[in-house]
């Protein structure tokens, strides 16, 4: 069993519990490889997927995990433009409480929104990304994928490359990886690396080639084009030259780096197609492990009964 009722973030999350989740995820991964991919573990449990922001991948991954565990699921999606931000949040929360939901999976554009939700509902709350704060289930699936390749996390050199400032994936990965004993470097232009990040125990680099030499695995984060307009980077060409992961660069180092990406990818910008589709990329394993990890998280937090 896990120590905390909710999964809001990996800051201060017990390392042992991360390991438990990953171990459980591997056993669910076996289920996913069977012809009949469904277990009755969460039969009778009701889970609502509350998406205040579009994220098709994360929602589908959660939904699939819930279905594989035989839970009943309800989806609530609202683009923030149609919601009067904030004001209706309390109402939504109270409605969930009234409907006797067992767990809420929430994606919200505002940092702290899942914590806010725990104050209004009794249900288990799972953070599926809150602004640029945390995205703990993504970090767990990333770590599971690393463990699958390397057999361990401890001592690995992992680089997060790209837009660290606006990424919820970055913080959760940093907390999780450092808790499990990996070494982390963040790499990108200074404008996309938040001040004070080194206080989290990571190294900062602006030199992708140096990072290639050092790293065992790269986790490449998505670049959002709207960042260009406000001067955070000057052009796609310049970004690609400095921080794009392409075959030419990989070949120069002649090293079998493991390549990860949480998706959705900008092919040809932060990552070239040839790299994304190469055998050293484990991007599709991440997707499958995402379902397994989320099954493990739901199972452990909702106290499901053991598989028959």
């Amino acid at each position: 069993m896990l120590k905390q009722k909710h999964l809001l973030g990996l800051e201060g999350y017990p390392a042992q519990d991360i390991k438990t989740i990953i171990d459980t995820a591997f056993s669910f991964r076996e289920v996913l490889d069977r012809p009949i991919k469904k277990v009755p573990s969460l039969q009778g449990k009701t889970i609502v997927n509350l998406f205040f922001e579009n994220s098709t991948r994360t929602r589908i991954s959660f939904e699939l995990a819930q279905k594989r565990l035989s839970a009943d699921t309800v989806n609530f999606s609202a683009s923030t433009s149609s919601l009067k931000k904030g004001e209706s949040f309390k109402d939504t929360a109270q409605n969930i409480e009234a409907m006797k939901i067992d767990a809420v999976v929430m994606r919200h554009p505002d940092p702290g929104a899942p914590l806010h939700l725990t104050k209004h509902v009794d249900a288990v709350v799972i953070n599926a990304g809150d602004g640029k704060h945390e995205h703990p289930t993504q970090a767990i699936l990333d770590m599971m994928s690393l463990q699958e390749v390397f057999g361990k996390i401890k001592g690995l050199n992992v680089a997060l490359v790209g837009d660290i400032s606006h990424s919820r994936v970055a913080l959760s990965n940093i907390y999780g990886l450092t808790a499990l004993g990996a070494n982390v470097t963040v790499c990108g232009p200074p404008t996309l690396i938040p001040p004070h990040i080194e206080t989290l125990g990571v190294k900062v680099s602006h030199d992708l080639d140096a990072v290639f030499e050092w790293a065992d695995a790269l986790n490449i984060l998505r670049i959002q084009m709207e960042r260009m307009g406000v001067g955070l980077f000057p052009s796609v060409r310049e970004y690609r030259n400095l921080f794009g992961v392409n075959t030419e660069r990989l070949d120069r180092h002649g090293k079998e780096l493991i390549i990860m990406h949480p998706g959705p990818m900008n092919r040809g910008i932060e990552i070239d197609s040839a790299v994304a589709d190469s055998k050293q990329a484990i991007i599709l394993d991440q997707v499958l492990n995402g379902v397994a990890s989320r099954m493990a998280i739901l199972y452990l937090l909702l106290g499901g009964k053991a598989e028959e």
């Binding site: 800051e11 931000k85 904030g86 004001e87 949040f89 309390k90 919200h108 554009p109 505002d110 940092p111 702290g112 929104a113 914590l115 806010h116 809150d130 602004g131 640029k132 704060h133 945390e134 919820r168 913080l171 938040p194 001040p195 004070h196 990040i197 206080t199 989290l200």
Partner: protein
């Protein structure tokens, strides 16, 4: 809290009279007749006098706050001049200056008169601060002279900075003709960007957009230099960073006409208070680092900071129930002000009441051109009675504002306001 008319003759007996103007403190009795100071010392009171026993208590000037938002006109659901007055009385304030960022803003002689006329019926003294620019748009100067005639005591576009340096320069020059200070909410909006809390380790961990200290201190420096250039007086509101304190201290040394205020919440809290995303801690300028907070406390004892001002900013529960990102900036502060400041200064610096009481009394009055000699015979009794060592817990029952957005709810305080005397009334808490 009870407010009633003062008796014809009131004897404040056995209290310690603390005169922040003369810097003296001694046991004296005070006779107040018809709401005015009659005599101080060991006067003989007539038999008919009502006695208020002040044993163990301190009697000092009524507090004066140069920075409150009473939301009238426009957001009377948050606060009015009348409800704000009650919050002031609960905090020992007898006099406040209301900021003009109302709806519509106080940017014309007519709107200033609206406030002064309404204020005449309020139990405390309320003075309007006029907007510097029409519509607080930062472009065209308001009719400052006519507004002064109607009762404006200073000018500010508070809530919004005057971004254009040329406009700020002209405002300073023009207001200097009227001998009124300009109060500029110093924050470079471009540099602040989307920042909603102090930029630092905490903003990184919380995933909230940071507002760098430099967004404030850069503009504080600009305003000081512009004041120097124009020979005008500038007042820096709610100083929150150590760099701003440095700029103010240096400017004072060089003889610039600059004054500065600090809020109780910036003295009391740092940005770690935001760890639970409690929207009561969302304020502009933001709560800063512990190093900044310590420097502000030092600024009080060193004399760099002139005034303590609450920036009392009421908001509805509904607005503050939103997520941190969407909640409005601001917190109420009148009721908790003295206790919060006294607690911090006592705990951290062992500063005596006499050393900081001027920041709540004489200094803000001087800044606004109000009478500062309140213990003179014949002066209106505008007094606050305190128990500086009483310990108590601030809770929702301690709040008299129409809004409840206080970050101090639940805090244990040292020092309590017991009574506030002003405008012929006495309020006993």
């Amino acid at each position: 809290m009870k407010t009633r008319k003062m008796p014809k003759v009131l004897l404040l007996k056995n209290g310690t009279v603390l005169d922040p103007l003369k810097g003296t403190s001694s046991k004296k009795d005070i006779i107040i007749e018809n709401g005015k100071i009659k005599s101080i010392g060991k006067p003989k009171a007539p038999k008919s006098a009502e006695v208020l026993d002040c044993t163990g208590k301190v009697i000092t000037h009524g507090f004066c706050d140069v920075h409150v938002h009473f939301r009238e006109p426009g957001r009377e659901d948050k606060e009015t001049l009348a409800t704000g007055s009650r919050a002031a009385l609960a905090g020992g304030f007898t006099r406040v200056c209301v900021m003009p960022n109302t709806n519509p803003p106080l940017d014309s002689p007519e709107s200033i008169r609206f406030i002064t006329e309404k204020a005449a019926d309020c139990p405390i003294h309320i003075h309007p601060i006029g907007a510097v620019t029409k519509g607080q748009k930062g472009m065209e100067l308001t009719e400052m002279a006519a507004m002064v005639r109607e009762g404006a005591v200073a000018f500010s576009d508070d809530g919004l900075p005057i971004a254009n340096a040329a406009v700020m320069r002209r405002a300073l020059e023009y207001a200097s003709m009227l001998k009124k200070p300009i109060i500029n909410h110093a924050e470079d909006l471009d540099l602040r960007d989307d920042g909603i809390m102090n930029e630092g380790e905490m903003s990184l961990k919380l995933g909230l957009d940071g507002n760098t200290f430099l967004a404030e201190s850069m503009m504080v420096f600009r305003d000081i230099e512009l004041a120097r250039l124009s020979g005008a007086a500038v007042h820096i509101p709610h100083v929150s960073t150590k760099e701003s304190v440095t700029h103010v201290a240096a400017a004072k040394k060089n003889g610039a006409s600059v004054t500065a205020e600090v809020t109780p919440h910036h003295l009391y809290f740092n940005d770690e208070a935001l760890v639970s995303y409690n929207t009561h801690f969302k304020v502009a300028p933001p709560l800063r680092s512990e190093a900044d907070r310590k420097t502000l406390v030092k600024g009080i004892t060193s004399g760099t900071i002139d005034c303590i001002a609450t920036d009392h900013a009421p908001h509805t529960i509904e607005e503050k129930e939103a997520t941190f990102t969407n909640a409005p900036f601001g917190m109420i502060g009148l009721e908790s002000c003295f206790a919060a400041v006294n607690t911090i200064l006592k705990k951290e610096k062992n500063v005596s009441l006499l050393d900081f009481i001027a920041l709540l009394t004489v200094n803000p009055r001087k800044l606004m051109g109000f009478d500062t000699d309140l213990f003179q015979e014949g002066t209106e009794a505008e007094l606050t009675i305190l128990s500086p060592d009483e310990t108590w817990v601030f809770d929702e029952d301690s709040i008299y504002s129409r809004s409840l957005n206080s970050p101090f709810t639940g805090e244990s305080f040292i020092g309590k306001v017991n009574a506030t005397l002003v405008r012929g009334n006495m309020t006993v808490l």
